[in-house]
């Protein structure tokens, strides 16, 4: 009987309990802290979404595990770092327009550079190991090591402070609640990207082909579409998305360091597993869950913050091995 109810009202129950869990931390803190953490959690979630969405799509479409995805994240951050350094004047100007301009330049540069790196990686490394997850893991793992070391060679092995455009710093005071400016910007950016991706996937022909490919790449080929070109393109886009995520995270944390890809790779995997492969919506939901829970738990019980995410991931894997929003695979 309970099983029946669960099946029919499953979705509602999940949303309800999620909301309940979301409000639970209030028990351990005052409302101001709660709101600050919530915003931080959403912001982190958005940045994780950027990294995870690429991973999810690549896996969903190409059935490829890419351990080098985290490095794209790091490269994005470093490219932005260089852009900010180069356009120092724009970064330090008091003008919102100039700050936004340099921010956009950084985004474009990050996407271009990392996108090209992504294309090279896909054609040189990944193409040869389609079909074998083990070898993909090994190869992309090697790629990860090489690319990380390249960061150390090109930019130096130390942690660097990330410059932040002037008008993005600081906070707003809303009803006595201190709201940091940058997280809001990150959230807006994330939502914008989500919107763009959804439009491309749902309304454009290429997007439809990609969605079809996630379900049945062989059939798509048999219908006359060059699936390999598609793979390369999606890989590059995925890498570009990770780059933007990396850049956003660097500004958020005010630092870049060569190993930053690794830490967030784990998070990205957790998000993809929770959200479901090949699903952009799943990546968003998963990312928000991870971001929020991490921030709440980090405040309440610091040592087990990462552990909680892993716990959630394991629980979801046990209940629904395909993730929350599996995309037809």
């Amino acid at each position: 009987m309970a099983g029946e109810i669960l099946k029919r009202k499953g979705r509602e129950i999940v949303i309800f309990s999620a909301l309940l869990l979301g409000l639970l931390p209030l028990a351990g803190m005052d409302i101001k802290t709660y709101l600050t953490l919530t915003i931080a959690g959403f912001a982190m979630g958005m940045m994780l979404f950027l990294v995870a969405s690429g991973l999810s799509l690549i896996f969903g479409l190409m059935d490829v595990i890419n351990f080098a995805h985290g490095v794209c994240f790091a490269w994005g951050a470093y490219v932005a770092f260089s852009v900010f350094r180069y356009f120092k004047k724009l970064v330090e100007a008091e003008s919102l327009f100039q700050n936004s301009l340099v921010f956009i330049i950084a985004i474009v540069a990050a996407i271009l550079v990392v996108g090209i790196v992504g294309i090279i990686v896909e054609r040189v490394l990944i193409r040869r190991v389609y079909g074998s997850h083990l070898f993909q893991i090994l190869i992309t793992f090697g790629g990860m090591v090489v690319l990380t070391e390249l960061i150390r060679i090109l930019w130096g092995p130390n942690d660097e402070v990330m410059p932040v455009p002037v008008t993005f710093r600081g906070n707003w005071d809303i009803f006595d609640i201190i709201v940091l400016k940058y997280p809001i910007i990150a959230i807006v950016l994330g939502l914008f990207v989500f919107g763009v991706i959804q439009i491309v996937l749902k309304k454009t022909k290429v997007g439809k082909i990609v969605r079809a490919g996630v379900e049945d790449p062989v059939m798509v080929q048999a219908m006359g579409h060059n699936i390999y070109l598609l793979f390369t393109a999606v890989f590059a886009v995925g890498a570009g998305l990770a780059a933007v995520g990396g850049m956003a995270m660097a500004v958020f944390n005010l630092q870049v360091y060569p190993g930053m890809g690794d830490a967030y790779l784990i998070f990205a995997f957790i998000v993809v597993i929770i959200g479901g492969l090949g699903s952009i919506t799943g990546s968003l939901v998963g990312a928000l869950i991870v971001g929020l829970s991490y921030n709440y738990v980090a405040f309440l019980l610091p040592p087990i913050a990462v552990g909680v995410n892993i716990l959630i991931m394991v629980v979801i894997l046990l209940i629904r091995p395909t993730g929350l929003f599996p995309a037809g695979k």
Partner: protein, 371 residues
């Protein structure tokens, strides 16, 4: 005595051939090398080097049981090594005293923990796809490292736990001289570890060639079919995973006995997991002996790479970029790793085996994705 069935006859013939073949003599030679090291090369550095190769050989072989023979990629293998290490360290160090009894208890506790966790792990592998499993184990391994580092009250944090060995294993112990070499606690420990490693390795070989082991390979090659034939794949997988993990745990304890400390970086770290992975690939997946080749190769590389850097610097004093690249030996490693995976996917031993069999070596078959 009755007639032999064809299978029995074939096996008997195989066994007879084995003891007379080239690989067999090679193995004996290697064994003798390890056995005589403390006497032939008494310097501590060499003995330490050989011992670490020994331990990693068996560790990589235990990982190969999971990866090459059962077909399961788990990034958490080093975690079990760490459990053994920390357990022993805690029992004879932090929370106990250096006695033989505590030593044994340390091992027992570690093996108990490992069995429990390995069971959970294998249950998880049953539920989820291979790739999820790999990622989950990676996450859990990272989590274990964080725990070990953060719960410093319990685990000694980043510095870890230092221990002294009991009785005859104590560094300062002496039992006179034999063949011109002083028998110290170190030597005793070396031989104990040697014996246990040998025993574990032979056990693993036996396991692979046993009926149980053959079922494992059937499962690895075609699981649905194995199930259809009637094997409870879960039970087999579980026993295989538990076996591999237990071996790793024992090795962890042995490692602590030799180096005298246990900290997150040396017994739990991801770099060690990567080393093991690299060794398994370079040595050869699905060939237990690959562990030896891989471990030796990597340890040699680790030790002699700084010298290689010096040589390059002196030969090309002006090539600054070359210096930069050599400095980042990890970069070279990474490129080497990729090249090995591409061109020698069967590893050193695997390629050698194919060569000896006369089939020559082939690139990995790329399966066409069919509708």
């Amino acid at each position: 005595m009755g007639e032999l069935t064809p299978v029995q006859a074939a096996r008997l013939e195989e066994r007879r051939k084995r003891f007379r073949s080239f690989p067999f003599f090679l193995k004996i030679a290697v064994l003798i090398a390890f056995l005589l090291t403390p006497f032939l090369f008494p310097s501590f550095k060499t003995v330490d080097f050989m011992l670490k190769i020994m331990i990693f050989t068996v560790l990589v072989a235990s990982f190969d049981i999971l990866l090459g023979y059962t077909g399961i990629l788990s990034f958490g293998h080093v975690m079990f090594f760490g459990i053994g290490a920390y357990s022993v360290a805690m029992l004879i160090g932090k929370y106990g005293s250096p006695t033989y009894v505590n030593l044994v208890i340390g091992f027992m506790i570690a093996m108990g923990m490992t069995s429990a966790i390995a069971l959970l792990v294998s249950f998880l592998s049953l539920r989820v796809r291979a790739i999820f499993f790999a990622m989950v184990t990676l996450a859990i391994a990272e989590f274990a490292i964080i725990l070990a580092t953060k719960l410093s009250g319990f685990t000694g944090g980043e510095d870890g736990i230092t221990v002294n060995m009991p009785g005859i294993f104590k560094v300062s112990f002496t039992a006179g001289t034999l063949l011109g070499i002083e028998i110290t606690g170190r030597i005793v420990t070396y031989y104990l570890i040697f014996l246990i490693c040998l025993a574990l390795f032979l056990l693993m070989v036996r396991f692979i060639h046993s009926p149980l082991g053959r079922v494992m390979q059937a499962i690895r090659d075609n699981e649905p079919r194995a199930e259809a034939i009637g094997y409870k794949t879960f039970a087999f997988k579980t026993s295989s995973i538990c076996f591999g993990c237990l071996v790793a745990t024992i090795l962890g304890g042995l490692y602590v006995m030799w180096v005298g400390y246990a900290n997150p970086e040396s017994v739990l770290g991801i770099p060690i997991m990567l080393d093991v992975l690299l060794m398994v690939i370079v040595g050869g997946m699905g060939t237990l002996y690959g562990g030896l080749a891989g471990a030796a190769f990597l340890k040699f590389a680790h030790t002699f790479l700084p010298d290689l850097q010096k040589v390059t610097k002196s030969l090309f004093p002006d090539a600054v970029f070359l210096h930069a690249i050599m400095e980042r030996w990890l970069l070279i490693f990474g490129i080497l790793f990729i090249l090995v995976v591409f061109f020698f996917p069967k590893g050193i031993i695997g390629t050698l085996q194919e060569y000896l069999r006369g089939t020559g070596f082939k690139k990995p078959a790329r399966s066409a994705r069919e509708g």
